[in-house]
């Protein structure tokens, strides 16, 4: 059992990495790319038989407090 968390910069926040990669893609000839946003992916291993609703609640709290910074980032959490 795993938790998968994807963290992305908020749209309003300057993302110079994304911008640089977007420019590189354009230079390489990949057309039609209108935006690149670079974030983080965190995978958390959970003990077998963990109650998924409880894990989701706990990890939402952890994502809010530590794993992401709500001032500049959004996150998506999935338990699989």
């Amino acid at each position: 059992m795993k938790a998968k968390i994807i963290i992305t910069p908020k749209k309003a926040v300057l993302d110079p990495q994304g911008k640089t990669v977007q420019n590189a893609l354009a230079h390489m000839g990949y057309t039609g790319v209108t935006g690149v946003h670079i974030g983080k992916y965190i995978e958390i291993d959970l003990a077998p038989g963990t109650d998924s609703a409880a894990a989701e609640k706990a990890l939402n709290e952890a994502a809010h407090k530590l794993l992401s910074n709500p001032v500049i980032e959004d996150y998506k959490l999935e338990i699989v």
Binding site: V13, L14, P16, T20, L66, N69, V71, I72
Partner: protein, 236 residues
């Protein structure tokens, strides 16, 4: 006056801060991040460096150190706290200061001298900076671009909480003088109560002429003056 300078794994400006405070005639000691108490302390400095290797986000892990719980309580009781560089990032992550510090807009690590305009003298961190004085102090960071949403920026402005802005040698706040893309050229801010401040530049590295500038001392002199005033009020 007793300064406590925090020490996290990979802090690297802790000794500089201790040296600057002692050179200016006051006492300073290091407090290890595992300590749950600050002891006899009148000012806390959260120093620069790369606490916990800057893993996850700069300052994100340091904020959960036992000593940071003590710092939070110290700040809640009105104690003076100054965060420098990584220390600013730690205070922002801890919610003691609004906003966040993100990657420099040009993705480069900047290690250079910058000029700072003091926006207000009305704080324990700026009261002694001579009027109109442009401070020349070094920066050394890769993630110093100050960001906050519009509502927070408006609040900072209305509350006179922006303490320092990047400017040119003549004091003009221009985009060219902004080394990292910080919104409103913000180099340093304080909280609403004005007892917690953070800045990306390093005043502790500019406290003696031998180092090329002693402009940083004005920030420390302001803190000393604020404490003297506090002590005098207590005695009276």
């Amino acid at each position: 006056m007793n300064f406590a300078v925090l020490q996290f794994p990979a802090s690297n400006c802790d000794q500089d801060a201790v040296h600057a405070v002692r050179r200016l005639g006051h006492s300073a000691r290091l407090v290890w991040h595992k300590e749950a108490s600050l002891g006899d302390t009148e000012v806390v400095i959260v120093p620069g460096g790369f606490s916990y290797g800057d893993y996850l986000r700069c300052g994100a892990i340091a904020r959960f150190s036992p000593v940071m719980q003590a710092v939070k309580q110290f700040a809640d009781n009105g104690g003076l706290v100054l965060g420098v560089c990584n220390g600013f990032q730690v205070l922002a992550e801890a919610g003691l200061l609004p906003g966040a510090l993100i990657r420099n807009r040009d993705l480069q690590f900047h290690c250079e001298n910058v000029f700072l305009k003091t926006v207000t003298n009305e704080s324990p961190f700026t009261s002694r900076i001579p009027a109109g004085k442009i401070l020349r102090v070094p920066i050394a960071h890769g993630e110093g671009c100050y960001y906050a949403d519009e509502e927070t920026l408006a609040k900072l402005k209305a509350g006179n909480q922006i303490l320092w802005q990047y400017c040119d040698a003549a004091g003009n706040v221009t985009d060219q003088a902004n080394p990292n893309g910080a919104l409103l050229n913000i180099a340093g801010i304080c909280n609403e109560r004005r007892n917690v401040a953070g800045l990306m530049p390093h005043p502790e590295r500019a406290c003696e002429p031998l180092l090329g500038s002693d402009d940083g001392k004005w920030i420390f002199e302001s803190v000393f003056a604020a404490l003297e005033k506090k002590t005098a009020a207590l005695v009276a």
